[in-house]
């Protein structure tokens, strides 16, 4: 007999070893997320995928699906709080969507739209962050890093390299690269690496491609992130 969990009252089958988000995705249920990617080791840091499991908040991307779980995902309270967690990410860094070349292709922006975020709500930190434009083909704009570690994991787990890491503590966390100089140009990163393409925001960009796809014709200009995400992740 198939094992099942319930998400917002719907019965969802799962297999042993699946996390809640994996079971949900397979069943066509979208749970907002930024640091989760089906190909890589779950990280559980952005907390957007928080769901309520039998009365307790858990990260859907790391918490295993188990028989008897009654899960709230699309509740008003969770969506409102996810919006605030997204707003935290916006005020922590410096995210100016209208002038960012990732606009329209940005998952942070798309999640914000999905959660109906209309302002930044919290006071901005106006953090002073640097650019690393040293690499011929790839740019790091630290202003937009949300410490999801997708680049770290993609480099280690997919590219067979170890280009990126997150260093520091608390609000002083920052992305570092594996070069004595500390500059991206001195790492073994290539523009074809998955790590150079996986950033959910505009923190890691491929140079010379900025406006090849015009604004208005980008991924999230006509589709919501839930559809895009489910379509992509169900194929994985």
């Amino acid at each position: 007999m198939t094992k099942t969990i319930r998400i917002d009252g719907n019965t969802v089958p799962f297999e042993d070893g699946q996390t809640i988000i994996e079971a949900a995705t397979a069943a066509g249920i979208y749970i907002p997320h930024l640091c989760h990617h089906p190909e890589f080791t779950p990280h559980g840091s952005c907390k957007l995928c928080t769901v309520n499991v039998n009365g307790r908040n858990c990260s859907a991307c790391t918490f295993p699906a188990m028989e008897g779980q009654e899960i709230l995902n699309n509740s008003q309270e969770l969506q409102a709080d996810r919006q605030k967690i997204t707003q935290m990410l916006f005020v922590e860094g410096n995210h100016f969507c209208p002038s960012c070349e990732k606009t329209g292709n940005c998952q942070l922006q798309a999640v914000a739209y999905h959660l109906n975020m209309l302002d930044s709500h919290f006071p901005h930190f106006y953090a002073h962050r640097e650019l690393d434009a040293s690499h011929a083909e790839v740019l790091i704009d630290h202003n937009r890093c949300i410490f999801c570690t997708l680049c770290v994991r993609a480099s280690q787990e997919h590219d067979g390299k170890d280009v990126f890491a997150i260093s520091g503590r608390g609000i002083n966390k920052h992305l570092i690269v594996n070069a004595e100089s500390g500059l991206l140009k001195d790492t073994d990163l290539e523009a074809t690496d998955l790590a150079a393409h996986i950033c959910p925001t505009g923190a890691i960009l491929i140079k010379h491609t900025a406006y090849k796809v015009p604004i208005g014709e980008r991924i999230y200009d006509h589709q919501h992130i839930d559809q895009v995400s489910l379509a992509a992740e169900q194929n994985k």
């Binding site: 907390k47 890491a165 260093s167 503590r169």
Partner: protein, 593 residues
């Protein structure tokens, strides 16, 4: 330096798990971790340089840039503030001609703040090159300044500067009856391992770190794991401000703590144990190693101890200034030589702990009590206390009272009794369990010390009516923002937002909606954070807002909106650039009605 680093790496068998102890050695010798050492270590330990940089930047006691040859840190705990920390630091800064957070231009001395050093009963306290300095006053600072300016090596400083007292004021069941080395182990082997676990079970012993998980269950789960390689870890990362009982237990009862670990190891089948000692307790490090050596001599550690067939030994790992490492999975990460970031759970340490193997992590006091139970019996312990909280609890009491120090009480004792014993007068309230615990007011003194009422890791900080509650809450809130590991969004961003929002109110820039905004933020950080740090970081605000709402409201301006910063001060650069200082170049903070 190359030879030094090579030698240290060799002594540590080129193990990446030993990264913290290697960095401690380099930091002590060179007052920072030079870039060349990072490069060399990356090769020698075969790890990415980014992992080394990550660790250096994570722990407060490691630095990428040189600190002074004499590095002075002053404890920023509220208990040190109550004892005049602010004024003492200012005096020190003046005497040594160095600003807080700076290195003197000649590189001789640096001065900075640090989180609670665990000397709350003998503050204001500090550290010089990691060595604890209690009872800082003007006379001592004069003496210290002279020693530093004369460049006297720390080993030659007068020993009374480093004299730490136990201050045990009240002993009960456990502190009154210290065990002779080997007594609990002999009783354990005589009774049998399963029978001894049954005694631990019937004693009802629950974890003394504060969470209160049943000790016997933890040991049983670990024992039941299929994986044969298992570990015992003693959590001596006593970082909760206001807590210092583990310092005293390790100073005067370490034999019994190690004995408790060994009993656990015999029961669960572990051959290796670790004491994770907080970096602030460096002064105990050599002494504890001597005790371990003595136990090996006595046949209480090592191969086939007491001819039981059990092999077990204990190593000591020194922390490096990170409160988060008191969280058991962060502690395990740190033991493995990494940043102390709490793991995702499940799996739990009892199944996947140190190096992914089944691991029991218990508090110092838990092992201390377990040894006594193994020696006596479960019933002996269970006869004391309340239905749900058996035995006694050792408290660290500090703040506004006549007799700060260590007190052991039977569970169920009323707060009023405890306050009478320690000589607390003119009470405003007290913080139980440290900043992550609860603030109770003087109207709640009939409440009881117990898991079912006031659970605590043992920190009692007492405040009298002269104290300003908001200053206290502010100190705690800044502490959490400083100690957040930064892994998850709600805690990384949320604790800093809480700090800023509270500052805004405390500094008198708050207006009508700001307390509501503060409450909303508290709920977010509490409900969505990854681990206990974030889940409790808002407790100081939540518990005082519930009891003293008028105090917060009284700081608000009677206007609908007030900017969160000083408008006029922000114009200063512009005024200088424009070379103006006329009335029109100034702004008032708000349009007055």
């Amino acid at each position: 330096m190359q030879a030094f680093v090579k030698n240290i790496a060799e002594q540590n068998h080129h193990q990446a798990t030993h990264l913290l102890r290697i960095l401690h050695a380099i930091q002590a010798r060179y007052h920072h971790i030079p870039e060349a050492a990072i490069e060399q270590l990356a090769t020698l330990l075969n790890i990415a340089r980014t992992q080394i940089i990550g660790v250096i930047e994570f722990y407060s006691f490691f630095h990428l840039k040189p600190r002074g040859r004499y590095e002075i840190l002053i404890s920023d705990s509220i208990t040190d503030h109550l004892l005049g920390k602010h004024q003492i630091t200012a005096y020190l800064s003046e005497k040594l001609q160095v600003d807080i957070g700076e290195v003197r231009t000649d590189g001789l001395v640096s001065l900075d703040n640090t989180s609670c050093t665990g000397l709350c009963d003998q503050g204001p306290a500090g550290l010089v090159n990691g060595h604890a300095l209690p009872h800082l006053d003007h006379a001592r600072i004069d003496q210290i300044s002279l020693l530093i300016n004369q460049e006297t090596p720390i080993e030659q400083w007068p020993t009374e500067l480093f004299q730490i007292n136990d201050n045990i004021i009240k002993r009960d069941l456990l502190l009154n009856h210290p065990l002779a080395p080997g007594a609990a182990l002999q009783a354990t082997f005589k009774r049998g391992l399963s029978a001894t676990l049954a005694e631990i079970d019937s004693s009802g012993l629950r974890g003394r770190g504060g969470a209160g998980f049943k000790t016997a269950s933890k040991w049983q789960y670990c024992r039941d794991e299929a994986e044969s390689q298992r570990y015992v870890v003693c959590n001596a990362d006593e970082g909760e401000p206001g807590t210092f009982k583990d310092r005293v237990l390790l100073n005067s009862y370490a034999q019994q703590v190690f004995e408790g670990m060994t009993v656990c190891a015999a029961i669960i089948g572990a051959e290796q144990g670790f004491l994770y000692l907080r970096g602030e307790y460096l002064f105990l490090y050599d002494k504890l190693h001597e005790i371990l050596a003595e136990r090996r001599q006595l046949g209480l550690l090592g191969k086939n101890l007491l001819n039981s067939g059990v092999n077990f030994d204990i190593d000591i790992c020194l922390g490096a200034g990170a409160y988060i490492c008191g969280e058991e999975s962060a502690l395990i990460e740190s033991l493995e030589g990494k940043m102390g970031i709490p793991r995702n759970r499940p799996p739990y340490p009892v199944t996947h702990g140190y190096l992914g193997k089944p691991t029991v992590v218990n508090n110092v006091e838990t092992f201390f009590a377990a040894a006594a139970i193994a020696h006596q019996s479960g019933e002996w312990f269970a006869n004391i206390g309340t239905d749900k909280s058996n035995g006694t609890k050792i408290l660290s009491i500090s703040g506004d009272c006549a007799k700060p120090g260590i007190y052991e009480y039977e569970f169920g004792t009323s707060i009023e009794t405890i306050l009478n014993d320690c000589g607390a007068e003119e009470l405003l309230g007290l913080q139980i369990g440290g900043p992550s615990g609860l603030f109770i007011s003087d109207s709640e003194l009939q409440r009881k010390l117990a898991f079912e009422d006031l659970a605590t890791g043992g920190s009692f900080i007492i405040f009298n009516k002269q104290r300003n509650l908001l200053d206290i809450v502010n100190n705690f809130t800044h502490f959490f923002a400083h100690e957040s590991c930064g892994f998850c969004t709600p805690c990384r961003v949320g604790t800093s937002l809480l700090k800023n929002q509270l500052d805004k109110i405390v500094d008198g820039h708050g207006s009508a909606g700001d307390v509501v905004a503060l409450e909303e933020l508290c709920a977010l950080v509490k409900n969505y954070s990854h681990c206990g740090l974030g889940q409790t970081a808002a407790n100081p605000i939540i518990s005082t807002l519930a009891r003293f709402p008028e105090l917060y409201q009284s700081r608000l301006k009677k206007i609908s909106y007030e900017p969160g910063f000083d408008l006029d001060a922000s114009l200063e650069t512009a005024r200088q650039l424009a070379n103006r200082n006329d009335a029109a170049a100034h702004l008032t903070q708000v349009e007055q009605d």
